[in-house]
Amino acid sequence: MKHETGSKSQVRADWVFRWFTALCAVTVVLIVSGIFVELIINSRISLQKFGLGFLVSNVWNPVTENFGAVSSIYGTLATTAIAMVLATPVSLIIALFLVELAPPKVSSFVGTAIELLAAIPSIIYGMWGLFVFAPLMLNYVYPVLGKIGGPLFSGPPLGIGILPAGMILALMILPFITAVTRDVFMMVPSVVKEAAHGMGATTWEVTYKVTLRHCISGIIGALFLGLGRAIGETMAVTFVIGNEHRISGSLFAPGNSIASTLANEFTEASEPIYLSSLFELGLVLFIITMVFQVVAHFWLRRLRQSIGGRA
């Protein structure tokens, strides 16, 4: 090619290139707004018929064409809560091990293994949950929990239900939270840690009194990211949650989540109002995850600014 700096064709080629990349970038904007618009348009019938009652009604009856989101929202929040309660301490502890305790080789090996755990598709967790984990829970864990009794552990144990769904979700978000937390732990300047060690503090004291305090906002950001992921997880939950539209106080009981309801019923919905209600469930899920994403985004950005990095 000829080198004609500033010639018209070169300027035009650059202009075209620039606008082409801008167009690709705008695709992302179009997709996100498209999702929002399509969900609202398609849930129009349900929005008109049920109004805000959709969000507080516990009925889900395709025969009488009466729909409410409460049981799905409950299942989504209950499984997510179980997952967060289990995954948070474990992932913090593993991150601590990776950063403070493990020799570099072990740390990189374990870190890789944890990241591979994050790469396994959710349907594999579902298979494992349904055929390996649920029978195990039924035979060994439920009898023990059943002895504790109380409203949380009552009712006939089926092996599938809210509790195993939450536990498998915990396993799925664990590597994700661990990876982000590890990166946050590594952001602590080693001078600060070395100073504490120099004062005679033990590794645990350095972690508890220096690293954790330094990293608390980063950890919260990581937890928000894990939370957003757990809320929308579909396949693993659909396999083991039991798929029943009801709210039971017991963790043994089968339930459903927004995502599992969509996965199960979307192609079966023949009536317009049924399909529209499913779209509205999707809209609810999209808004919930969006809120968590937005909070996490601004939280982490504020954190980076306060540390002095690039926003």
Partner: protein
């Protein structure tokens, strides 16, 4: 600070450290356990017809998932052809022209939102966008749903990788009189080649195991894929359908398909990591 005896402090320290060691071991063992179950149960499904034949009606023996293997390859290939260029050039925009444009910060933000959007929502979106107007499920709809998931992943890694290329390289190329597009495609891309490849591989790994976006788009089919405008067979939906069935034979096939998916996703992920680490050396 309240003075404490050294013995108690050291004991606490050692207890916490042992707990953290144990917990990490448990984490590794869980991975090993899942892999063990998938491999041991999946390998039992493998025979010649598993890889060469489409499914047979219930009750007959000798069926396989060959059509689903081909279908998943086709879906992933088409999704890659659509998703990688769009994601890559969106990343180019963010890294190369981003600082001059007011568009870049909202695009970056919406990329994060899209990455956090549940994949089933993407499936619902593509259903209403393509399946409803066209009147039937299709391989195209499935591939587009997968591409939508790839785009933000690739855009963000591409931006990060292009940002690692020093500006002096761009400036030297520009000073030689090369136009901007040539600088980007010929010089910056070459410098960031391995990073870009890693990003693409990770995105492909991610979508090749996706099920939720295919449920209402590509659906599934017991036949060989004939056309992308028809419902198309694929491994992940096959796993779902077979696992939900009450038949032990089908469960076996679902495990076999899980084995294939897990191994290919892990291999893609590991090779992406190997490529990236070569770069550092």
């Amino acid at each position: 600070m309240r003075p404490r005896s050294n013995l108690i402090r050291r004991t606490i320290n050692q207890t916490v450290m042992s707990i953290s060691l144990l917990t990490s071991l448990v984490g590794i063992l869980m991975l090993a356990w899942i892999l063990y179950e998938v491999i041991s149960r999946g390998a039992g499904a493998f025979n010649w017809s598993f890889f060469t034949k489409p499914p047979v009606p219930l009750g007959e023996t000798g069926g396989g998932v060959a059509n689903a293997i081909l279908g998943t390859l086709l879906l992933t290939l088409l999704a890659t052809v659509i998703g990688v260029p769009i994601g890559l050039f969106a990343g180019v925009f963010l890294a190369e022209f981003g600082h001059q444009s007011r568009l870049s910060s909202p695009v970056r933000f919406l990329c994060n939102i899209l990455m956090g959007t549940p994949s089933i929502i993407v499936g619902v979106f593509v259903y209403s966008l393509l399946v409803v107007p066209l009147g039937h499920f299709s391989g195209y709809a499935g591939a587009i749903a997968l591409a939508v998931i790839m785009i933000p992943l690739i855009a963000r890694t591409a931006e990060d990788m292009l940002n690692l290329v020093p500006d002096t390289l761009r400036e030297s190329a520009l000073a030689l009189g090369a136009p901007r597009w040539k600088v980007t495609l010929g010089v910056v891309f070459r410098a960031a080649k391995k990073g870009l490849l890693t990003g693409a591989l990770l995105a492909i790994a991610r979508v090749s195991g996706e099920t939720a976006p295919l449920l209402f788009t590509a659906l599934n089919s017991p036949y060989w894929p004939r056309s992308m405008s028809q419902p198309i067979s694929n491994l992940t939906k096959t796993i779902y359908d077979y696992a939900m069935s009450p038949y032990a034979d089908w469960h076996q096939i679902a495990w076999g398909a899980s084995f294939l998916i897990t191994v290919s996703v892990l291999l893609l992920t590991i090779s992406a990591r190997v490529i990236l680490h070569e770069r550092k050396r």
